[in-house]
Amino acid sequence: MNDHGDDVQPELRGRARRRLRSSRLIQYLLLQAAITVAGVAVLLQSLPGPPTQYQVTAFQLTEAGAERAVTLPYFSPLRNAMNDPPRFRGHFVRPAGEASRAWSVFLPRFTNGVEVTVNDVVILDSRRDPAANRPDRNTPAIAVIPASVLRDGDNAISIRLFIWGPITGFLDRIWVGPDEALRPTYNLRTLVFVTLPVVFSSWQAILAVILGIMWVMRRHEPAYGVLAAAMAVGVGQAFLQTPMDETPFSRFNVILISSAPIESALVLVFALLLSGWKWQRYAWIIFIPGIALALAGLFGNQALVRALFLILAVPMVGISLLIMAVVTARSALQRQNVASFLLGCAVTIMLTCWIVDLLSVFQMMPNRIFTARLSYSAMLVAIGAGLTWRFARALNQVDGFAGRLVTQVREAEEKLKASFAREEERARAAALARERTRLMRDLHDGLGGQLVSIVALSERGNGSAGIGDAARAALKDLRLVIDSMDDIGGDLMLALGSWRERAMAQLRPHDIALDWRAVTAQGLPVHPELRPWHVIQIVRLLDEAVTNAVKHAEARRITVRIETLVDADGLERGCITVEDDGRGFEIAPDGGAAGAAKTARGLRNMRSRAARCGAELELSSSAQGTHKGTRVRLTLPHRFPDSDGAAG
């Protein structure tokens, strides 16, 4: 890489990052455009209506003192017409023979209220239905015409349209016909425009509770608190009633009107906080439209509130949606955050519905179905899904963290165990060394000195050589016990070195040569598991072999061969062979020596010692021939047993 490489590389990387980001932006925008197109396509679909034969569209309208013929649907230019509402007069025909069936009047959509009269009898006043009084809901109305009022042939129908703002009046086409023909359409509209919003409002209530608890438990995340407040405002708005009459409480009811700007402001603050924005004091301006509207409701009259609603609330909702669209898009693109992405899609749907609603208010749409409020449910679904996603991700992180913690604890535990084992081993070795030192001093001061005295005294007396030999043997054994307690680090060769010295001292008076042959360079393999009691068994076994050669075989030369054998599995095993050129003996079928009972016992001892150490003992002896003598071959185990359990 040349000198410029370091400068070029970051630039290339930056360009690649920019390209990636712009491609992501394009993908996101394309997806939002597709959502918008799909939304518009759905909104342009007209809802199914009853059979057109029952449709009544030709009316004589009396409005503001003037009378003219109109065809429904009709957009009234008036914003307030409570005292002199527009009156629609029309006719419908009930064919003969229909008397047996109930007939109804079905009004799918009107703003703000209707009073229907058939043959001068009032059969419906929508103003008594609070849900129907809210212009943002597309509540339909149906009324069964009492049979006594109806007559075969021509019937008169009259509709008074009450308008109280904030938008202009509207009356969609009406249907008059058999109830069974009209009812399904009415039910469908009720389901979509009345029941469904209630369901979503319940969902909103649940969200309000969940988010409220979340905020109480996690006070450092104000986003949840803000969203809980927004949900609570929405729920209150949906379930509180709005009576038409001016009552002392209607001033408080009017606060409900301010719920839309307040709720949208809260949701906007939530979206900002979610995208990492920090609360600033100037951000209170977001709430100004809502608060202004509420104050107007408290201290002004309803006409003022309705006028303000149009210029404060509607734009507030739109502006909030626009800001949220930008913020969530940025958050979704930069952080690759699923919650923001879902929220962004929901905002796009809402924005589309809001624009369509606005067009409808300005009579640029053939009908007047408001969907902004309904599309808010998309936002609720997105919030629920986003919350669940975050919760699941947090759980996964906790699981991962817990898993890592468990692994770390296990590792630490193992390390601790190993260190404990090491420490224990060291403490054991130290204790053994201390014990050995103590034993050595005790033997030195007592038994050892006494035995030496016995040796000396027996030599002076001349007549008791047996006692001297026994005392000398006892001293030799004492030295072996002390020696085997020494820490030889698993190298049996170190124990054999001392044994060689003792054996030579034993053989010298008998004029027997000791031929020491280490066949392999390192001698025997090192066994870290070698314990003092293994050493003592092996050394005593070898002593036994040498003593047999001295006492019974009349040997002139003893050869000790030390080697390391590698078996078929590649495992190393030590092998010690003690060979003499003595008389030899016959080996009985049971493995013991035939003849001398003492030799037999010696052989049995040797076998038992070998078995305890997990070693294999091989005995061969011949009394005649060139290869006469005895051979003891001890093959050590690959691993010495931990306990003395193998005793046999």
Binding site: S453, D486, M493, S498, M504, A521
Partner: protein, 225 residues
């Protein structure tokens, strides 16, 4: 100890023998006298000092536990007054506890109290000839000390830092029971040079003065200044 060599005539050779157990003293004295050495026997530290006052012996054989003191002090004094005297410890078990402490003040090996008379004479003869014997168990103790361990091993203090790798190799060979000839051939040495190396090992393990002891303690990190 295990090599028998034909030394010079022993008439003029004086041996001071210090042993408090009477039968053992007689036994050793007999063995040495029969081999032709001139033996001055002592049963206590005071007697031993009186013997040494008569003049420098060629060899000092001393027990460590004496009724009126410790043999280590006697060895240290003798080493200072008579540098040419060969010193050996008489030990019951040949254990490093007693032998190593004697080596660090100037002794060269040990003699077992129950050794056969011929072996006793042979050992002294070899010593006089300049062949310092070293047993497998003592060699083992020394080489185990040359291996680094996290904490000081139990037993008497011993400074092995001055030993050369070759000397440590020789000690390993002795500890594992190899003869001088085998060690020499393994290490590519002449068999005759091995006793010289062993003498050198003994000298390096000796702590000469108090100042040197402090210096070595600092070197080994036992003392922080």
């Amino acid at each position: 100890m295990n090599s028998l060599s034909d030394g010079p005539k022993a008439e003029a050779i004086t041996v001071v023998l210090v042993e408090d157990d009477a039968p053992t003293l007689w036994r050793l004295q007999d063995a040495l006298a029969k081999a032709g050495y001139q033996v001055r026997a002592a049963g206590t530290l005071a007697e031993a000092r009186a013997c040494l006052a008569q003049g420098a012996p060629k060899v000092l054989l001393t027990d460590l536990q004496l009724p009126d003191g410790h043999g280590v002090d006697l060895i240290r004094e003798t080493r200072r007054r008579f540098p040419d005297t060969e010193i050996m410890v008489i030990s019951i078990l040949g254990d490093e506890e007693s032998v190593i402490s004697a080596i660090t003040v100037g002794a060269t090996g040990y003699l077992l109290k129950d050794a056969f008379p011929t072996d006793i004479a042979a050992t002294v003869r070899d010593l006089v000839a300049g062949h310092s014997p070293i047993s497998a168990s003592i060699a083992r103790f020394i080489v185990r000390r040359t291996q680094s361990t996290p904490e000081p091993p139990p037993g008497p203090a011993l400074n092995t830092t001055k030993l050369t790798p070759r000397e440590i190799d020789i000690l390993w060979g002795i500890a594992k029971g190899f003869s001088y000839a085998e060690i020499a051939s393994h290490l590519g040495l002449s068999r005759q040079t091995v006793p010289g190396h062993i003498k050198s090992i003994y000298r390096k393990l000796e702590v000469h003065t108090r100042g040197e002891a402090v210096f070595e303690a600092v070197q080994q990190g036992l003392i922080k200044l």
